[in-house]
Subunit: 238 residues, 2 copies
DNA sequence: CGTGAACTTGAGATTTCTCAAGCGGGGTGG
DNA sequence: CCACCCCGCTTGAGAAATCTCAAGTTCACG
């Protein structure tokens, strides 16, 4: 179990060498998932938890008529089905890029969680922060304009990618289509496209291909009414 | 620390008598909060976790210009600031009715969590289910019509109130105004009002005063595309 | 009996959606 | 090596859902 997850966990509480060792000793089978493929589907009952080692992915639910809601984007070091530690998942996950995913048996994980309270605390904090992110998305979808919503999401992505070192210098690899953004924000693709153009014209961002370039960080934050507090990350500016 | 919380926890994993005893022995100061008053505000840094003993409450965030997003409604037995176990809260909580709230010092709680793994598991499951509910609300706000959203919320409320025995026989005490509903669903009060009327005219519900009456449960579920699975409650029909 | 909060109604304004079509680049088969 | 095709992006334009503003109504409560 590699460094990215451990670094991620350490954002929410110091770990001792013993804690770290226990994590590194976790049995894990590594699997590669091609870009665009489902990592697991909505009805999945696997008993392994999945940690994203390399690549980017997202979680989503699909309604009967095909409408889709994306609920999170993930970077290396993220556990994409924390819920599986104790419950069953109610969502699917799909790879945005080629992904390397570690499968950790639930039993091995719970054993470590019981023996190492600081590790349990860190994992639990992970799921609490996930909840905080969901709440912030709810505020966006419920009460913010399309423009503020998009700007806010881009801010969040930037901060999170920066935190795992997947970008920097105002350039971030974020290989989503406008359809993905629309499905994450509860908008139509057409409208997403037009708002994105507005943000480009306002010289806040440039977002073509698979790369997001931040042209005016303060401006983008203001447009999205963004305050990174809810991410509970240690101060790292951005 | 009373039965409602314990019953709530036991939905997500059996507890031993020792577990229960440890919970009952938790030190807690009980506080009464008048209807309409804030239980805690957004910037609150208290180190006590709050368990709702009696009454109903909700959590919310408020934007700079006063727009409000409600993120959950709570019944007796709910922990309304689980996040506080390890982090700081990013939301406020307000009482809908007179509420009795237990304040449990974080340190006492974490001590129990470390000593009783099943208790930790149950609390953690509580926060995972909270996340599942948030995701379902996101689906609603992002991809469902106003009518489906309202119907879905009412279904959820009914199931959760039934689970804590706060109602039954298709009548549930749910003392919110249409403004509360609007703020929970990301709608305007006017539109909420009209859709509610449509649901009444369709003979799915009756919702006047502080009481929700379900006239046609299958119809309401269908209108809200509701499937209680995400609540992870033990089968109890409804 | 007065008052205020909550609910209701009407009507025009906006945002956002849907449908429909054209454009452009990269990948692929001939 | 090139033409074709598909996916993703873009544009236009009318339609729908939802919002805002503004009043009026009702009802519980003092």
């Amino acid at each position: 179990m590699p460094g990215r997850l451990i670094a991620n966990l350490e954002n929410y509480g110091a770990l001792t060498p013993a804690d770290r060792h226990a994590l590194e000793a976790l049995p894990a089978r590594s699997v590669v998932c091609p870009a665009g493929a489902e990592i697991f589907e909505e009805g999945d009952t696997s008993s392994d938890c999945r940690v994203l080692l390399k690549g980017q992915a997202f979680r989503h639910k699909t309604l009967a008529d095909g409408r889709r809601q994306i609920m999170s984007f993930h970077a290396p070091g993220d556990v994409i089905d924390l819920q599986r530690v104790f419950l069953t998942v109610d969502y699917a996950a799909t790879a945005l890029t080629v992904c390397e995913v570690a499968l950790v048996p639930r039993t091995a994980l719970t054993a470590v969680l019981e023996a190492y309270p600081q590790v349990a605390r860190a994992f639990w904090s992970l799921s609490l922060v996930e909840g905080a992110i969901f709440r912030e998305w709810m505020v966006g979808m419920g009460r913010r304009s399309a423009q503020a919503r998009i700007a806010h999401l881009l801010c969040e992505v930037v901060v999170r990618l920066a935190a795992v070192g997947a970008g920097g210098n105002d350039r971030y690899r974020f290989p989503v289509t406008q359809t993905h953004l629309a499905d994450a924000l509860g908008l139509s693709v057409v409208h997403t496209n037009r708002v994105l153009q507005a943000l480009r014209r306002a010289r806040l961002i440039d977002f073509r291909g698979r790369e997001l370039v931040v042209l005016d960080w303060p401006g983008l934050k203001a447009a999205g009414e963004f305050d990174a507090g809810y991410l509970q990350l240690p101060e790292r500016a951005a």
